[in-house]
């Protein structure tokens, strides 16, 4: 039965090929291109030098343990402190964004537009170099941790505010009505009934934000931190310079992946679970 179907010739095109023939041709072409790239790479690149510079096993001993005890630890501190600040600031801005007071909505809207539209690097530079000139006798606490937490927090708050807003709006209106009918005030209903549900809804995108922030913490590079407060990227760079070898860059990258890949997996699991629950 299928034979009779196959015997029917497919519609001819301008090139005189059936769609299936064209598809096979396209796939074949991709393989040819790939093989060509590999052949050229083998011919052109000096592989022993690549291996020596990027994948030098001797460097493992020289990088250990600073990459973890200083680099990873500081990166985690920067990320977590910035995230915590961004979380609560973002929540506040999201609630302001949905406020019945026009002024609140305007302030929140302005904040979101500014901090989403400006490069994070610029925020770092302003806080690290602009702020001390403007306020010479004041200093953010625990330098440079306070500056970094504030910079990361200010930027991520804008993104998290939009995420929270979406979450709050995803909570059915009947929930607020039920809460209000029980005598809860609007703020009480928001805190006790709406926000716990909203936060649950936005856990996957919030975890994504954590991954982004984890990588963005490398922007501390720009504000000139000392060896003790260096993050993963900075320490990778320092070690690479010190040993005139690029392996520390690769190891720093792998350390980022050690955190970001499992977190990304968690996000996909959470998303799948929520999709199933609906």
């Amino acid at each position: 039965m299928t034979d009779t179907l196959k015997a029917e010739p497919g519609p001819r095109t301008r090139t005189g090929l059936t769609p299936r023939q064209r598809r096979n041709f396209g796939v074949g072409g991709q393989y040819v291109a790939l093989v060509a790239v590999v052949v050229i790479a083998i011919a052109v690149v000096d592989w022993s030098r690549i291996q020596d510079n990027f994948f030098n096993p001797d460097m493992l001993g020289k990088v250990w343990p600073e990459l973890f005890t200083i680099g990873l630890v500081n990166t985690v501190i920067y990320t977590v402190s910035g995230y915590a600040l961004g979380f609560f600031l973002g929540l506040l801005i999201a609630v302001m964004r949905l406020s019945s007071l026009r002024l609140n909505r305007l302030l929140a809207h302005g904040y979101i537009e500014i901090f989403r539209g400006v490069p994070a690097l610029l925020v770092f530079l302003i806080l690290a170099f602009g702020l001390p000139i403007a306020m010479p006798d004041r200093e953010l606490p625990f330098p440079p941790y306070g500056t970094v937490a504030l910079a990361l927090g200010l930027v991520s708050a804008a993104y998290m505010a939009e995420t929270f807003r979406a979450g709050i709006q995803a909570v059915p209106k009947g929930q607020i009505e039920a809460a209000r009918s029980l005598g809860m005030s609007a703020p009480r209903a928001m805190v006790t009934i709406v926000l716990p549900q909203a936060i649950r809804i936005v856990i996957p995108p919030l975890t994504n934000e954590l991954i982004l922030l984890f990588k963005d913490s490398s922007l501390v590079f720009a504000i000139g931190i000392t060896a003790g407060t260096a993050d993963l990227s900075k320490i990778g760079n320092d070690l690479a310079t010190e040993h005139s070898n690029s392996t520390p860059f690769v190891l720093a990258g792998l350390t980022y992946l050690l955190i970001t890949v499992p977190l990304g997996y968690v996000v996909r699991r959470l998303e799948a679970r929520q999709a199933k629950a609906r």
């Binding site: 059915p172 009505e177 039920a178 209000r180 009918s181 029980l182 005598g183 009934i193 549900q197």
Partner: protein
Amino acid sequence: MSEESTAEEVVEHGYARPMVRIRGLHKSFGDLQVLKGIDIDVKPGEVVCVIGPSGSGKSTLLRCVNLLERPTRGEIEVDGVVLTHRDCDLDKARRRIGMVFQQFNLFPHLTVLENVTVAMRKVLKVDKKTAVETARGQLASVGVGDKAGEYPARLSGGQQQRVAIARALAMRPHLMLFDEPTSALDPELVGDVLTVMRDLAESGMTMLVVTHEMGFAREVADRVVFMDDGVIVEEGAPAQVIGDPQHERTRTFLHRVLHPIDD
């Protein structure tokens, strides 16, 4: 009732103060006039069923009673408090007005027990032990005492609606509003909820019920109100309104409800 009607009041009005007193209630959504002048009194202990075709404004009327919908015009007084007054503390007034919704609206992130205790704890500031005791008592009285630790999603619709009733009753309301409480239920679960409501009515609760359950209205209601197109068309004892309707619109509606397939 927290305070008994005083002799003076009875003399002044000729009867005890009504639990609900609605005068000249209008509600519009944009250009759409949903309520066009409603007057109702509900006496303490009275059970009033509001019936009528969909779009007649009966749910809006109910939602105006606790001001979930703000009336465009008119006055609403519940338990001696004028809710439509500008200075009225609505949050406080709503504590004594229980409401049960068509879609249950249980809080999905809280257990059944927490659903019942949350308003007692956060609004009435009842201590935890008392709140839990009260909640367990209420849940047992509506027949879901064994579900206290479950989350709402694990319950059937009928169980969820009974929890919602227990949640409202835990606030010791003086008035209960029911907005089509059985319309979202599978037919075999309707009876459990109606039984709870009948028991509540027999215990003397003042109830305003929007419903399509004519059997319930006939058996339990003291008074039936038929609404159509934003006005009250006729009202009276159930035997009269359902059994012997005076208006053509009421007859047409009842015929459609009671005999859905013959013409």
